[in-house]
């Protein structure tokens, strides 16, 4: 038994060991399985991590792409903004300078604030003066001393000057390595004490007269091709404004010269007119004096001739009577001539005082008809009077106006053929003026003689005048009387068809 017991204990121990071994084996297998699963999970996670990292890197890569695109967009936007702001300023400046016609004022209008609005810090403009020397016109950001020095030094940069002033090209610090002139860029930048610049020609019709330089102080201001365009437009506008100012000045100057000439000529004409008036007065005075002196002896001649002709001093032999009657008749003609001359001189010198009253044209034409009826009847002339309804009144001196009618109708009778026609018409020219016309269908007046009609002693050279004697003073008298009434005499005629003499008179009041 004890043996059995002692035998049994190792068996139990063995069983326990076996069991533990099996359990351990199972546990190891389980752990291995778990480990395998974990390993798989780790692998999976590592793969996911790698995927995430890749995605993260890809996103970062995309961010780089975005940022690079965004930078381009910023540049484009900045340029656009600058252009829009520049154009707005340019438009404002153009309006200001194009309405200025003074050369100095054009340059004064370009102020520092405009330069800043255009995106620049400094400005310099120079052009040749009358003595052909370059002179500063705009200087912003420089003292006068600096400006003069810069202009002097600029003339030592022939390549830039040639490009801008001779070839009329815009030039900027962007143009590095573009042509020969670019060699002078660093020098110019140093001279102007700026970081970048645009230089453009100020153009007139016949070429560049100077240049405009705009510069940026900041090395971080990005100059663009758009800036070049902007400065070029501005410089061109200044050039055009200067051209306009010059044209205006020339026009103004010639206008002033013309004005001065007109004033001089007017002065001369006034002096001449005064002289003519004086001469005319002297002539009138002379005629008046002479006529007066002639009339006295003529009255005696005519008186004695009448006595002789009437046979109051005895009957005259027929030959003598004939001669005396001729003396009497010619004395009458001479007397009429002298009277007319005296009248003209009196009227012209204003010595005749017109007795102005409202006259009825109908009454005047009626008495005229009575007076001239025999003469018209002799030539079977048709006499028509066409006055508007209500017979207008005219304001005038009755005696003088009747003389006008007598002279005009008398002349018409003289030049109208037998069975001819004379018409008197009247119409209102305006509410204050009446126009009266005397027309005939007579021989008419040649055009060359029209202007001379009314001159004293002028008689048209025609058959009628050759037969009928006259003084050549009738129409002069008419003209003087009408003028004394502040009216105007006009004559129109067609040779062979007739003539119309029109005169105006002020309207009378009832």
């Amino acid at each position: 038994m004890p043996l059995t017991n002692s035998f049994k204990e190792p068996v139990i121990l063995e069983n326990i060991l076996n069991f533990a071994g099996m359990f351990g084996l199972i546990a190891v297998i389980a752990l291995i399985i778990i480990l395998v699963f974990k390993m798989e999970k780790i692998k999976e996670l590592q793969a996911q991590l790698a995927k995430l990292k890749r995605a993260f890197d890809e996103l970062d890569g995309q961010a780089k792409l975005i940022v690079q695109t965004d930078l381009e967009l910023h540049h484009a936007q900045e340029e656009l903004d600058k252009k829009v702001t520049g154009l707005v300023t340019l438009q404002k400046l153009t309006r200001m300078i194009s309405t200025t016609l003074d050369e100095e004022e054009i340059f004064r209008k370009l102020e520092e604030k405009h330069i800043v609005e255009l995106g620049f810090d400094r400005a310099l403009a120079f052009s040749k003066d009358d003595a052909n020397i370059y002179r500063a016109r705009i200087s912003i950001g420089y003292t006068m001393e600096e400006t003069n020095y810069i202009i002097k030094e600029l003339l030592n940069h022939p390549l830039i000057l040639d490009k801008v002033l001779d070839k009329n090209k815009v030039f900027s610090s962007l143009d590095t390595d573009k042509d020969k002139a670019s060699k002078e860029i660093p020098d110019l930048i140093k001279l102007l004490d700026i970081s970048s610049f645009v230089c453009a020609p100020m153009m007139k019709k016949d070429g560049a007269i100077g240049a405009l330089i705009l510069g940026c102080e900041s090395p971080y201001t990005r100059l663009t091709e758009g800036d070049k365009d902007l400065v070029y437009i501005l410089a061109t506008q200044i050039g055009q404004a200067l051209e306009n100012a010059k044209l205006f000045e020339e026009t103004w100057r010639s206008h002033q010269e013309l004005e001065a000439k007109i004033q001089q000529r007017t002065k001369e004409l006034s002096a001449a007119l005064e002289e003519i008036k004086l001469i005319s007065k002297r002539k009138t005075d002379f005629i008046s004096a002479v006529s007066h002196e002639l009339r006295t002896p003529l009255t005696s001649i005519k008186g004695y001739a009448s006595i002789l002709a009437l046979g109051k001093l005895g009957v005259l032999p027929p030959e003598a009577k004939e001669r005396v009657e001729k003396i009497n008749k010619h004395s009458d003609n001479l007397s009429q001539l002298i009277n007319n001359l005296l009248d003209i001189s009196r009227i012209e010198s204003g010595r005749v005082e017109l007795k102005l009253e409202s006259l009825n044209l109908k009454n005047i034409t009626d008495s005229l008809t009575d007076m001239l009826a025999p003469a018209m009847k002799e030539k079977a002339i048709e006499f028509l009077v066409d006055l508007p309804t209500g017979s207008p009144l005219v304001k005038g001196d009755k005696i003088q106006i009747e003389r006008v009618f007598i002279n005009l109708v008398g002349n018409a009778i003289k030049f109208v053929p037998e069975n001819g026609r004379i018409t008197i018409k009247a119409k209102m020219l305006d509410p204050e003026t009446v126009q009266v016309s005397v027309s005939d269908n007579g021989i008419g007046i040649p055009e060359k003689d029209l202007a001379k009609l009314g001159e004293e002693f002028f008689r048209i050279d025609n058959d009628v005048n050759a037969k009928v004697k006259g003084t050549g003073l009738g129409l002069s008298l008419v003209k003087s009387i009408v003028a004394a009434h502040k009216g105007k005499l006009t004559i129109s005629s067609q040779p062979g068809k007739g003539s119309t003499f029109s005169f105006t008179l002020p309207r009378g009041v009832i």
């Binding site: 780089k64 930078l71 900045e78 520092e112 604030k113 800043v116 102080e217 971080y220 990005r222």
Partner: protein, 402 residues
Amino acid sequence: MSTFIGIGVSEKKDPFLAAAEAAKLALYQLHHREITLGILFSTIHFADKRLLEGITYSLGNIKLLGCSGAALISSHGILKYGVGVMLINSDKIKFGLAASGPINTKGPRAAGEEFAREALKNLGMTQRDMALILSDGLVENGSDLLRGIKDVVGSSFPVFGGSSADNLRFFKTYQYFNNELLANSLIGAIFSGEDLFGIGVRHGWKPLGKPHTITEVKGNIIKKIEGKPAISIYEEYFGKSKEEIKNTLIRMSIYYPLGLYVPGESEYLLRNALRIDEDGGLVCQGDASEGNDARLMMGTKDWALDAAAQAAQEAKSALQDKTIKGAIIFESISRHKLLGRLTEKELSRIKEVLGDVPILGICTYGEQAPLKSVEHYGEPYFHNETIAILTIGESHAANKLV
């Protein structure tokens, strides 16, 4: 007991006449009240002694702060050429003015410290609430300047400011301090006027591509990113060589600045790269830290416009229920370049939020403003590419007394 603000703008070409005109217009809006403080901004074209003579001619000797910039912002519009004056009359605002320089000899941090001590001394024993600073925009490490101020006033003290500019010439910027024309200086004031100021700062730029860890930094120079010279980030993204990038880096980094992740903030802190150093490191206007995640940032006009409205809203909300009497804006020149002709639209978005109040601002090379999140406890930082808006308010109670 009230605050009145008037502004005037002029485009006259002579600095004296422009300043005199702008000052008179502002004074007219102020109904000829006594001037507590004057703010003078001008585009670089007017930075001349005669500008300050024009102010003195119109206003006499007043306390004045100002600087040159790339463009002038005012309620009337944006001008690339002009002078703007803001005049403040207030019996609630107290301040101590100070100027410190030359920064390049003293060092930015020392200059910042000197400024803060002087301003505090001039403020006296009054409670201090906010600092307004205007610094030379050519200082390469703007963060160091701010650090100097923070050394004195504490790191959570609100500082609002702008770095004067010269329209990307990077030659000389100017600061206007009382009747002095300064350069290479830090000027400003520390104000006392509890809850009278609201600050909002935003940019709207968004990250692009994967994050890159900054592995080596030396002050304001990011030397290495992921073990490679920092310039490689621009080389890789733009597919251009270092030589090609060298001359266009400033323009490139205006549109695509580096963004530093700031825990808790909704927007990244932006850094403009000024140049490449001899090892291929990027010299930035502000600093960065090793281990920071840097991203290439991208902006769009719409995002920039939205950011302006958000900044205005932030500045307005900071004033809570107070009436806004006026606002000062510092806008990065980069945003101005990005927006182009849309700058006027940005102004109208700001006005939609702030209402019809006098606004005066300038385009700067950098901005200083606090970060809002809890993690930063309102600590001011140097920013690039942002629009920073300071609203000046007044409680309704004060209004009722008028």
